[in-house]
């Protein structure tokens, strides 16, 4: 073996071991971090909670192209499984991207209130879930999802599973509280007049504003009840004039930091075991 070959092999070994060390370090860090990302999918909701190779998706936006392209930016290319998909209610702007999601990713379980819809998109979702053998379960108040490395999701509303023929879907929206260490987040779907449906909810830190900032939600009474520090509005181009100026005013009056997906793009919080809380990163 020539000197040159010895040197080359030596350099190659150093590079290889550094790459492996860095990858292991990155992988360890990646597995221990929890992220909560409000995806910018236009006028619709999609929230990804990711903890290493475990993912929970709450709602799927309106269009699959938007949903999948944003998910692809937050899930590593080799991870093609989303463990849990939750649909807060069966409206097109919350389930529109889910039929294609079930086709392109492996979805282990689909959780919903039980309410169904007669729309084309819901039929498509039902068919896609059946074809891809996704387990369906109904969740309601008291249902709990524990993440393997810390973090709990608790369903606050509705009180009972809903019958399939439920007509007014917004009023049956799932409300979920996510707790990680000292941080509490509240995901309200499209629920109107929240103070009436979830009167006992205590203070939280981050609120996902209901119904894309509709004036029928997020009242001063409700804001006074939950006293959030930050509010996320999942909104895009729409003809309903969402978010309502009234809602923005109410939030500003309470000195709540407002973040909007139509202006800021994907909004992400990182939760670490060390800090024991979730902090805004982008």
């Amino acid at each position: 073996m020539s000197k040159r070959q010895i040197y080359s092999s030596f350099i190659f070994l150093i590079l290889l071991s550094s790459t492996i060390t860095l990858s292991l370090f990155w992988f360890h860090r990646y597995e221990s971090i929890t992220t909560v990302t409000f995806l910018s999918v236009g006028e619709g909701d999609a929230i990804l909670i990711s903890q290493g190779s475990n993912q929970i998706l709450i709602d799927g936006g309106r269009r699959s192209k938007d949903l999948l392209s944003h998910l692809g930016r937050h899930i590593p290319f080799w991870d093609r499984t989303i463990e849990t998909v939750i649909a807060t209610h069966p409206d097109a702007d919350h389930i529109g991207g889910l039929p294609d999601l079930a086709r392109t990713y492996t979805v282990n379980q689909f959780l919903f209130t039980g309410a169904e819809s007669e729309t084309d998109i819901f039929s498509l979702l039902r068919k896609s879930l059946e074809e891809n053998h996704v387990t369906k379960d109904r969740i309601f108040e008291g249902s709990l999802i524990n993440l393997p490395r810390g973090g709990t999701m608790e369903v606050l509303f509705p009180d009972t599973p809903l019958p399939p023929e439920t007509k007014e879907s917004n009023k049956g929206s799932l409300v979920i509280r996510f707790t990680y260490g000292e941080t509490m987040m509240l995901f309200t779907g499209d629920l109107p007049s929240e103070e009436m449906f979830i009167p006992n909810t205590g203070p939280i830190d981050i609120l996902k504003v209901s119904h894309h900032g509709s004036r029928y939600s997020t009242s001063s009474v409700f804001l006074g009840q939950i006293t959030p520090k930050e509010a996320i509005i999942s909104v895009g181009k729409n003809s309903y004039r969402h978010p309502s100026p009234d809602v923005l005013k109410r939030l500003e009056e309470k000195h709540i930091v407002i973040r909007r997906t139509d202006q800021d793009g994907d909004i992400q919080y990182i939760c670490t075991e060390v800090s024991h809380q979730c902090v805004f990163v982008k």
């Binding site: 309106r62 269009r63 699959s64 192209k65 938007d66 999948l68 392209s69 998910l71 692809g72 899930i75 290319f77 080799w78 093609r80 086709r103 392109t104 084309d120 998109i121 039929s123 498509l124 068919k127």
Partner: protein, 493 residues
Amino acid sequence: MRKDQFFFFLCISFILGVFVGSFFLVPWFAILLCFALWITLTLSFPSRLMFVFFIFLGVFFFGIFSVRASLDEFREVHLPLGTVSGSMRVVSDPEMKNFFEEVILSTDVCTSSFCPNKKILWHAPITLDISRGARIDFSCLLSLPKNFDDAFDYRMFLAKENIAYVCEKATVFTPLLPDHISKLYTLLFTPKKFFERALERSIPAPESGLALGLLVGGDHRLPEALSQAFVTTGLTHIVAISGYNIALIAQGFIIFGLFLGLWRKQALWFALVSIVLFVFLVGAPASAVRAGIMGSCVFLGLFSGRLSSGIHILTLASATMLLFNPLLLRFDIGFQLSFLATLSIILSAPFIRVYFPKPFFGKGLLEIFLLTLSVELFVGPIIAYQFHIFSPFALMMNMLVLPFVPYAMMTSFATALSFLILPGLHILPAGIAYLFLRMITFSVEQVGKREGASQVVTLPLSIFVLWYVLLCLLFFFLRKYIFRSYVKKTDIQ
């Protein structure tokens, strides 16, 4: 005049005729008057030259006539409206839109009094499970497509695919049992479905959409913002299946053929047969067929090593395509881009070969730069004319991104194949493919969102035509000059 030159000028005359007929409103009486005048002149002063010109002019007028006849077919007064009923055949892959699926239908058996002989664009419900080749019992009140934007002639965009009607809400749409044609379609297009599914399952979006755009063509799988960024950065041609992509694929097959132990000539035939199979694999849409023909022209032209044969093949291929569908010249941006990009490569490649015959460090990069510059000179004005956009970064982006494209295509193809053959093994090629694809999307996103990445321009037709005339003259004189200096050099040696 040699036979091949005569044939070449015949094709050019036809293409010029189609061009004049497409862009200028030539009245019928003017066409007939000119033709009668020329017949009189030829008969009054008979000579061989006059006779040859008579033939060229006849073909030129035939070009004008054919495009005018096609345009007339799609004029509102010649398109009666009514309710069509009967059995229809799905002749396109359903394309998902926001609230419906876009499906193209052709009439199989018409049972109503109104029977259109043109295709129908149907807004089908998203829940309907149909694929290309399916037959459906159908009834719908047809309307004409509407132009929503002054800058974009949607009606003629559809007309170039022989679509004249739109059905927004069908009253009857029941899938019928498959017949032997449906079964044949299923057999032919099943590989494409598997291929698409394999890529979507193994590479995350939007990179899977880009991989499919590169291999199968079309930017409809990309999110709107990224698709727009490709236009802004002057890279939209890589996601529309074009002669460029096909030429790259052909090159890949040649290398593979040589690797298998084939001789050079055998490898060329292997590549050409593979192009035909590839066009079928992607579903043989008209755009892919045209790209296949253009790509083969580049390939044959470059392989023969003679500039003139490349141009002759391209001219013949384009004239043949226009003979079947003269509307392509004006209304199909894909045809225009493919033709001009192919022409630019055929024209500039021999110059590079003559000027830089010996290998040196960085020759590959210089070649890419010169070819990209040449393609930009030909393609830039047509993008400015059609999209009203000028991309100052287009040249830089093309130079930056194009070298990665063959690798992205190759590894994406390998990913899909390994996913189909041995799922699980695909992770390795998928990782490499993702790296290349992500490099492309990252650079397009970063440059696309820069202020001034694209400028709005309005290019008048006169400037547009003048540009191409000057460009062709430049290449013509350069060719003569190079030929002379090449002859001098070989004389001295």
